[in-house]
Subunit: 195 residues, 6 copies
Amino acid sequence: MTGTEKKTGVPISWFPVPDESELPESLQGLFAKARENLGFVPNVFRAYSFRPERLSAWFSHFKILHEPTENLSVAEREMVAVAVSMENGCLYCLVAHGAALREALGDPILADRITLDYRRAGLDERRTAILDLAVKVTNEPLECSPEDIEKLKGFGLTLEEVWDVIEIASMYNFTNRMSLACGKIPNEEYHALAR
Amino acid sequence: MTGTEKKTGVPISWFPVPDESELPESLQGLFAKARENLGFVPNVFRAYSFRPERLSAWFSHFKILHEPTENLSVAEREMVAVAVSMENGCLYCLVAHGAALREALGDPILADRITLDYRRAGLDERRTAILDLAVKVTNEPLECSPEDIEKLKGFGLTLEEVWDVIEIASMYNFTNRMSLACGKIPNEEYHALAR
Amino acid sequence: MTGTEKKTGVPISWFPVPDESELPESLQGLFAKARENLGFVPNVFRAYSFRPERLSAWFSHFKILHEPTENLSVAEREMVAVAVSMENGCLYCLVAHGAALREALGDPILADRITLDYRRAGLDERRTAILDLAVKVTNEPLECSPEDIEKLKGFGLTLEEVWDVIEIASMYNFTNRMSLACGKIPNEEYHALAR
Amino acid sequence: MTGTEKKTGVPISWFPVPDESELPESLQGLFAKARENLGFVPNVFRAYSFRPERLSAWFSHFKILHEPTENLSVAEREMVAVAVSMENGCLYCLVAHGAALREALGDPILADRITLDYRRAGLDERRTAILDLAVKVTNEPLECSPEDIEKLKGFGLTLEEVWDVIEIASMYNFTNRMSLACGKIPNEEYHALAR
Amino acid sequence: MTGTEKKTGVPISWFPVPDESELPESLQGLFAKARENLGFVPNVFRAYSFRPERLSAWFSHFKILHEPTENLSVAEREMVAVAVSMENGCLYCLVAHGAALREALGDPILADRITLDYRRAGLDERRTAILDLAVKVTNEPLECSPEDIEKLKGFGLTLEEVWDVIEIASMYNFTNRMSLACGKIPNEEYHALAR
Amino acid sequence: MTGTEKKTGVPISWFPVPDESELPESLQGLFAKARENLGFVPNVFRAYSFRPERLSAWFSHFKILHEPTENLSVAEREMVAVAVSMENGCLYCLVAHGAALREALGDPILADRITLDYRRAGLDERRTAILDLAVKVTNEPLECSPEDIEKLKGFGLTLEEVWDVIEIASMYNFTNRMSLACGKIPNEEYHALAR
């Protein structure tokens, strides 16, 4: 039952999904916290808990990439997430981070537009340049060059923040593939969130 | 000086490279251990130490993916690494993990062949199927399906090991992009290693 | 004012948008009917009315493709629309026909899943085969063959309905390109529709 | 017999081709007019007449796109047709509109060159820019931007004519896919026409 | 004058074209022979004569690939030439070898169809399999395998003839690139040849 | 035995490999010379000798492309070879010409870097521009234009040397496909050469 969506009855992963009670305490804590903050446990946690040690290790890395800095906000980090996920066509991340972007922006229409096509979403040059680099890292990483770094610095990002754009984009190239190849299905709750 | 190769004088990253002495103790320990085992500190550590917290988090995840299991050896995990890196054309990972594969196999010719074209390296059906999935996860993750999982199970891998193939392949889609977009250059020492 | 979205102030087209009152009577009738049925005039009508004769001609063709038949329902025709639009990354059609699919299915979660990745939406073999052909017509039309037609007939579609799958898929390859290259932006109202 | 070429005996469509006498009067008129002007009925009409209502609707839209204007001649509209059809590799449209371009230009050599590679056909900057946009609309519509519109305006096209370039290019992305996926074969007569 | 087409005045190469009288005797002989057989000197000879030694060396290799054998006729070798050239979009080779195929088949309609889309030209399984391999060698040579060789042997080709399919396909990947990157333009005479 | 590698026992070709003693004298001479210079007969010779006349004709053309000129050295011609071979993923040429580049440069590290990613190998603008054109000829020959020729002239190459870049790049598009589609495997000796 753990591994199946309530309403639709669709399995949330092509791999077995362990019962929450069998998981290490630290993960039970993570799940509890998610339930508190979000109202439910993201399916990516439940699906990834087939390999509990991996989930812990990955999430420790993943979560710090979304911490905001002066010139790269929570919303802008989610924009990188959805722009990359749209290039890869990742159902899970488009739904879950589409919802997160709606929440972060407080503007569901703008968030949906960025998720589906940031180029036509009316973004300013700075945000467009950030997402252009995320897409370049995704689709033609061989073509990346020091000029790409300079370009974002020209829009006021620190070197650390340019690195973040690259690292977040690279991370979603990891999570998109994990979700697609493991058949992870996003929680039903995401679809109505922050609308 | 930290960030430049000794002989070639080429910078090892397009981002600043901090001096080892400025790094947190845990990373200094990691570097020392690498120096002990390998004879040098991999440039990926030095380049990534521009963001020390990130290096720690990433490496904690990364390293456990290379732990061998009964049906997926150290060498086979390196094969996934190089097959993905060849698809993405990642200089750093082809050189560093090409060397690791030579070491793991104790056969530099076979290792080089697998690194450059696993399809013509004379591998058996089982290893070919493993690398075919790694490449599918890399190039057409949308096309992945439960049948891919079944196929590898048919070659004797446990479900956990099939997951590993997917997770390692996804991980190198992360590290390849990080290396390519940050301009990370592999240590000169790798080229002659295990020949 | 006609050519700009109310809330976001974003222009709905990169071409001029005429005032509704200047349009031929037949188009004013079309707009009135849309306002009655939908509550608003779709931006594709307003943007396309820069060339009123063209809008009339195109819409006369377009609308008959969405008429349901015994084995190809209104919802299934919308599924073809969104599957093609996702391949092409068309913001306008993903938003507008994503909404239409939610309405047609009465199931916003299933509709969103199909819109973003029909392969992981839990569809049966018949619907998957229909959408596979739509995607083949979109991405590799040269590879289409009589076997594709036979395959859909094997799932109970009439020859006329197989033709419809092809014609709808081809049509969205027209409308996607029109929307993308003319910079058409979907109405804000679509985002909350049928949720 | 209706649906098979005279000399080669090749079927002109993978779908059934109705006898002309069974078609609605308006289509019989269309066929008669084609026979009068061209000497034969284009196979696209005969193949499309499997769905008579569709043929009427499509052709009403299609034909107005080829009406010349001051800065976009009959020949230039055919150039857009063949440039798009070459990108998609559409046998039917390359043969039929290759012939139409020979006729429109009165220069079979130039017409053939444009059909096969407009980039090396010796065209001036204006025509090259028109065909570059047609190809961009075909192959990377997501990358289209307001600058593309400005560029063609800079070569003297009106906004309506820039729209036409986009709409004709989009239309051939429709007809190419219909022809390829329905297996439409061009009339034998086209090959020798206007040579 | 040597390097410019008579009627159209278009240069036949982006590189200088030497006067025939300056060429080595052996090439003057080659040109004379072509003039005798074909009525004109192919522009590929004139353009390539910028590097006379290269022209001699290349042509010595090229010409033997078109010598017919029992199960791979002159026409079938030209089919490989045009199928590859269509994949690469090579104006020169499509025009010149399209004419050669018309001549070899004595059937301009069938020849044109094969040139533009061999898949819909009504070819039998054997010829289709030959051209499928030529296209695979062109577009995805990494995916070639011993099974491809076995497949053509199953259609009655000797191992030498299978090799020929591969070598001719590879050769046109050479000549297509030479023609495209040197701006070689086919002789005006080809267009009307063998119609 | 002729057609199998000593240590690994892997066949060097998917086609039969004749015994050296059966070959025409001129080829026996070529083999003897290779053995003298290199210490072994390259497998490409042995594999290609299945068609002795072809081997002679091809090699007569191939070898003159590697003759150095004032502004395009032996090493730079090998750089074109490996850059193209990396785009095509050709095991044979990457191993054999990777070794030749190590030898020509006398710098195994730089040679390996250029072989795997010339963009990050620290090359100067002139060499980068040469390899950029080689890759353009390989991947998007249709986009080549007279400007590409001018660009290399601006770096001091003669027109003949620009032609050479194009002809060598085109040649490796031939040899890469021959090696990949015939299953040619590089000699074991290459891997340790010039390290």
